[in-house]
Symmetry: C2
Subunit: 188 residues, 2 copies
DNA sequence: GGGCCAGGTTAGTGGTCGTTCACCTGAGTG
DNA sequence: CACTCAGGTGAACGACCACTAACCTGGCCC
């Protein structure tokens, strides 16, 4: 099995370049030569430049939702579920800084179909958080819970903006801040 | 006096368009016709497309720093200073959602000189926060305080991602979450 | 009323981009 | 050994973009 390494090399390289210069700031030729091949060879692996972005963003949205759902379901209490969600999300963000940047910067450059796909996956992911948030605090409005989830993502996704701390320290800091922001007890 | 309305119309329109489609996703002709003029007429007001972006981002960076500094200086205690900073920042973010989006998405498209200018203004603004943060909690490392400030900006700047709440409710929610995240006592 | 000029216009230019085309190659297969 | 075909190449194409050039116009000033 061990699927084609070229395709994945392209996706990984594209993530770094798109994160640094933006989707429109990276040409097909740039991307190709960063992979050791050049220009139009990309079209042997993807039908278009858009498709590279789409594959990238759809797959991370799917992973966030799938693992997030599992972590939440595996927790004994709503509070523990939120802690697990924060832990998962911050780990993902620290480990895939480039993808985080691309996801919320170049999301709007997606072709229509992929954009809708990503949006619906993201909505579902937000809902996992929202459900747990409203279990811990039933006074929260649906919209308020959604806004709180978005705000927490903003906090956790700030990782790429400050490469000051090492990964472990960054994870600790962000987890603590996120749990406090959400009003989850026991955040040191 | 009442300076040229065209120039400011262009800046305001550009902020909206850049926020929606990205700097590279908006052509000079798009921007012109959104202002009721067309295409190259922009060059009567700005020397280049880059200059529009630069004027926009430099001016908001200056305002954030200037008012932030004043608010911090006007506070009696470090804790009150942080509350004032949060209040100012969240108010700005809610009121200028488009600018917030452009600032951290298209920052890298700035011409070199303006980019350095904006970066140094932003560093200075972060330092206002960092100083107050370390006064309230001297145990914080310089880098940890910077990362905490960036994380708080990420939280506060999440406004544009969820237009669910009205402005007042959004300000309340974000202020509360930010102050809790920062560990400032007396937040709801 | 003639001259100036801020602020428009349209047409054009050079460059870049995404994409396609025709072609090449070398490893695997019957 | 002939055939195939995945994966590469460079050249070319059409679209679009930022920007320039040449020109027009209407208010203002002496």
């Amino acid at each position: 099995m061990t699927e084609p390494s070229r395709r994945e090399q392209i996706l990984a390289t594209a993530a770094e370049l798109f994160a640094r210069r933006g989707f429109h700031g990276v040409s097909v030729s740039d991307l190709g030569s960063a992979c050791g091949i050049s220009g139009p060879a990309l079209y042997k692996h993807f039908p278009s430049k858009d498709a590279v972005l789409a594959a990238m963003l759809v797959s991370i949205s799917e992973e966030l939702l799938a693992v997030g759902t599992a972590r939440s379901a595996g927790a004994a209490t709503p509070t523990e579920a939120l802690a697990a969600l924060v832990d998962w999300h911050v780990g993902f963000a620290v480990e895939h800084r480039a993808l985080i940047v691309v996801q919320d910067r170049d999301w709007s450059s997606l072709p229509d179909e992929a954009r809708e796909r990503v949006r619906s996956l993201q909505r579902a992911y937000v809902d996992v958080w929202v459900t747990r948030l409203r279990e811990t605090d039933p006074g929260r409005t649906l919209d308020a819970a959604r806004a709180a989830a978005h705000a927490t993502f903003g906090l956790l996704n700030s990782t790429p903006h400050s490469g000051l701390l090492d990964d472990a320290a960054m994870r600790d800091l962000l987890s603590t801040m996120a749990l406090r922001a959400l009003g989850v007890a026991g955040a040191g």
